[in-house]
């Protein structure tokens, strides 16, 4: 009987390896081609979206402002409200997923809906976000472009009826393309897709995301030029002592990020409480709030890259810088918490830039000989606040590096980002992205780990848990084997190694009190013949489902579907151990 086990084991490896190679080659080729397409769509989508924002801005801030000229400076209060009203109508009656900053919706689709996003979301998000940002709403364009790129990619994948793993991969590629084109940061886009959307770093995913990200970046550069939003004055690390100040900046950035998470969703809760106010009106109220702030501090309106650039160049006073942190925080919460549409990426960068510039101004005044210019602290602050809020340190470092094109900033940036990320994780488990999902009762960390079970194949954990015996074996021989085997059941096979059934200890229980028949019965007499089977290429989730349906502790593994050739077995205990590991891993990842 041992021969049967050994032969089946080696043939299984061969079948699995060749199947894996076949699958990997065709899937990879398909994915790379589609990733290219997604990169093209993402790149042009980002350009179009950017143009729409500028167009809306022009119409709102020039023509509409002229129209409202009779209101004098107070026209600025009405414009974001008008934008909010139209956004409210779009998100209420066309696509509710277009509300908010977009990335949680993409993450939710990947975790719970196999990456499926409705095609109408792309169109709604473009319109809603362009209107919101163009009319002065305090939000970023990156979240929307992530959602737009992901929605387009999901639509293409669903049209082609691709399997869930490929849809998710392409959705991440769409998100990467959006970030890449928007920031002119192809590497940052790739890492964003891996770190935030998929939550894992795998070679197969990396290739697809690189293809779409590079394609989108090339398209953006062709049409918009190879420009960077920020240019840092020449920077170098003045003294190693400066690292302490950057670490302190990281600490402060964590505080700002956690405050942002709390206030954003608290604002959402406050608006939700007013059920008497129609949903489509609430963004207009948020817009009024932003407009009211903008009368005094117009810097809070829109994306704010120009304000960030000026802060980096040291154009603002210390008090104004710190005031801008608070005012931007409030404005963004009003815009997004009321139901507006836009991202949190730029607002995080904005607050980080002001915080960093402010701290840089202070430390440079106190310790001029050992510190760099405030501009360097502004850049580092941007990365630190975003990393703390999103818990995506790798993405943060790379995007900031690509935004500034200054390698010397890497060391202080990494220190501040790591400190900010760890402190923020200690203060609050959820991030700007996962908080929304947690409030819906979705534990992102556990779901991510559980989804990984769809990637783990039966072949990776199967073993020889069941003792393989001939179905002709006399029952008295089976009873002798119980004393010597460590295995938990018997898998009955015929002379060719094909599955005939299984004998569990439950089946043997009846034999204990009726020993007269031991020599006259064989394994086939007592085996349960109709037994669920698994194939090596099925997933652990498939195994768990079959264990639940069949109330067995061991399942035989056959070489392929509709075959009965036994190649091994898998135990319920092994699968449950994997699930326990998931829980532990998820708890560990909650910390980071």
């Amino acid at each position: 009987m041992q021969e049967i086990s050994e032969n089946n084991g080696s043939s299984c490896d061969t079948v699995c390896k060749s199947e894996k190679l076949r699958i990997r080659f065709s899937d990879e080729t398909k994915l790379l081609c589609l990733a290219f397409l997604v990169g093209v769509i993402g790149g042009y989508g980002a350009i179009f979206f950017r143009s729409m924002i500028f167009g809306t801005q022009y119409v709102a801030m020039v023509h509409l402002r002229n129209l409202l000229g009779f209101m004098g400076p107070y026209a600025i209060v009405i414009i974001p409200a008008i934008g909010g009203l139209i956004v409210g109508l779009i998100t209420t009656y066309f696509a509710s997923e277009a509300k908010g900053h977009g990335v949680p919706e993409v993450m939710g689709a990947v975790l719970m809906n196999e990456g499926r996003i409705r095609p109408s979301v792309s169109i709604a998000k473009i319109l809603a976000s362009a209107l919101c940002i163009g009319t002065g709403g305090s939000a970023g364009r990156e979240g929307p472009i992530v959602q737009i790129g992901a929605a387009f990619a999901s639509t293409v994948a669903q049209w082609l009826k691709l399997p869930p793993s490929m849809i998710k991969n392409l959705v991440a590629a769409g998100a990467a393309a959006g970030i890449s084109a928007t920031f002119n940061a192809p590497l940052g886009g790739v890492i964003f897709g891996l770190e935030v959307i998929l939550g894992e770093y795998r070679a197969l995913n990396f290739g697809t995301l690189v293809m779409s990200s590079v394609t989108a970046a090339i398209i953006a550069r062709v049409h918009l030029g190879d420009i960077h939003d920020f240019r840092l004055p020449s920077f170098h690390l003045v003294s190693p002592v400066e690292m302490i100040f950057y670490a302190v900046l990281g600490l402060l950035a964590a505080g700002i990020a956690v405050a942002f998470i709390k206030l954003l969703y608290d604002t959402e809760d406050i608006f939700d409480r007013f059920t008497a106010i129609p949903r489509w009106v609430k963004p207009a109220i948020g817009g009024l709030g932003v407009g009211g702030i903008a009368i005094f501090v117009p810097h809070v309106m829109g994306v704010g890259y120009d304000v960030m650039a000026e802060a980096i160049m040291g154009k603002y006073s210390l008090y104004f810088l710190f005031a801008l942190v608070g005012v931007k925080l409030l404005s963004t919460c009003l815009t997004l918490g009321s139901g507006g549409s836009g991202g949190i990426f730029s607002p995080s960068l904005f607050m980080g830039a002001m915080l960093g510039a402010g701290m840089g101004t202070l430390v440079h005044a106190w310790f001029p000989s050992v510190t760099a210019s405030p501009g360097a602290y502004a850049i580092v602050g941007m990365g630190a606040v975003f990393a703390a809020g999103s818990r995506a340190p790798f993405t943060s470092v790379l995007i900031l590096f690509e935004l500034t094109d200054t390698y010397e900033i890497i060391l202080p940036l990494m220190i501040a980002v790591v400190v900010a990320t760890y402190v923020a994780a200690w203060l609050k488990t959820d991030t700007l992205y996962t908080e929304k999902l947690s409030r819906r009762g979705i534990n992102v960390f556990i779901l991510k780990e559980k989804n990984r079970l769809d990637e783990v194949r039966v072949s990776e954990i199967m073993g020889s848990n069941g003792e393989i015996v001939s179905h002709r074996l006399q029952f008295s021989q089976v009873l002798k084997m119980i004393g010597t085997t460590t295995r938990n059941c018997f898998i009955a096979v015929d002379d060719r190694g094909n599955l005939k059934g299984m004998v569990s200890f439950k089946d043997l229980r009846d034999a204990i009190f009726h020993r007269d028949a031991d020599d006259y019965l064989i394994v086939d007499d007592i085996a349960t013949n109709h037994v669920a089977t698994l194939t090596p290429c099925e997933t652990i989730n498939d195994a768990m489902r079959k264990f639940r349906m069949n109330d067995l502790d061991i399942l035989p593994v056959v070489d392929k579907e509709h075959s009965r050739k036994v190649v091994g077995s898998i135990s319920r205990k092994d699968v449950l151990s994997l699930y326990e590991d998931i829980e532990l891993n998820a708890r560990g990842k909650c910390i980071l």
Binding site: H471, Y520, L521, D525, I526
Partner: protein, 181 residues
């Protein structure tokens, strides 16, 4: 006698008693080949027992291919578990000429117990086989079974009527003591 032994006898007794009926006893089997004998015995079963006769015969013969069902002393217990039968059934046949069931002692079988169980009842196999073996273990009893021509006497010798009697007594006792079956 320890409690376990008593329960063991009781359950195999109970189960076997329920299966022995006059209609399922063939006093003079004509076939001399095991496969023909099996076909002949299945004819005693009507539609209340058999779902699919062809499948039933195929299943019994398939089991015969795996390992012989002849045991010592002229006894054979061909059996199978199959959904071709609706409920457990036992057909008892007696062959004067003997049928080759490849018993351990090389002798042909004269008393054949065809035991059929639905797949979901395979757990009864041990108790029923054990009951049959105990029933025909005694050489004198086997002689009496071979000699008589009367079905009722045959059943008497088989201990069926006594088995029925014991079975109903046990049932009464359980009812009085409210012991679950």
């Amino acid at each position: 006698m320890i409690a376990g032994d008593h329960n063991e006898r009781e359950s195999s007794t109970m189960n076997l008693a329920r299966l022995i009926t006059e209609d399922h006893i063939i006093m003079d089997l004509q076939s001399t080949e095991s496969s023909d004998c099996i076909v002949e015995m299945t004819r005693a079963l009507d539609k209340t027992v058999v779902n699919d006769r062809t499948e039933l015969i195929s299943s019994i013969l398939g089991r015969e291919q795996l390992a012989p069902t002849g045991i010592e002393n002229g006894i054979a217990i061909p059996h199978t578990k199959t959904d071709a039968v609706r409920k457990p059934a036992l057909v008892i046949g007696r062959s004067r000429k003997g049928v080759e069931f490849h018993a351990n002692d090389g002798k042909p079988s004269h008393l054949i117990f065809l035991l059929l169980l639905p797949a979901r009842k395979k757990g009864l196999l041990f108790s029923l086989m054990s009951g049959i073996i105990k029933c025909v273990r005694d050489a004198e009893k086997r002689e009496r079974l071979f000699d008589t021509d009367d079905v009722q006497t045959f059943m008497e010798h088989l201990g069926a009527t006594r088995l029925f009697h014991i079975s109903s007594l046990l049932e009464q006792e359980r009812t009085q003591q409210n012991v679950p079956a």
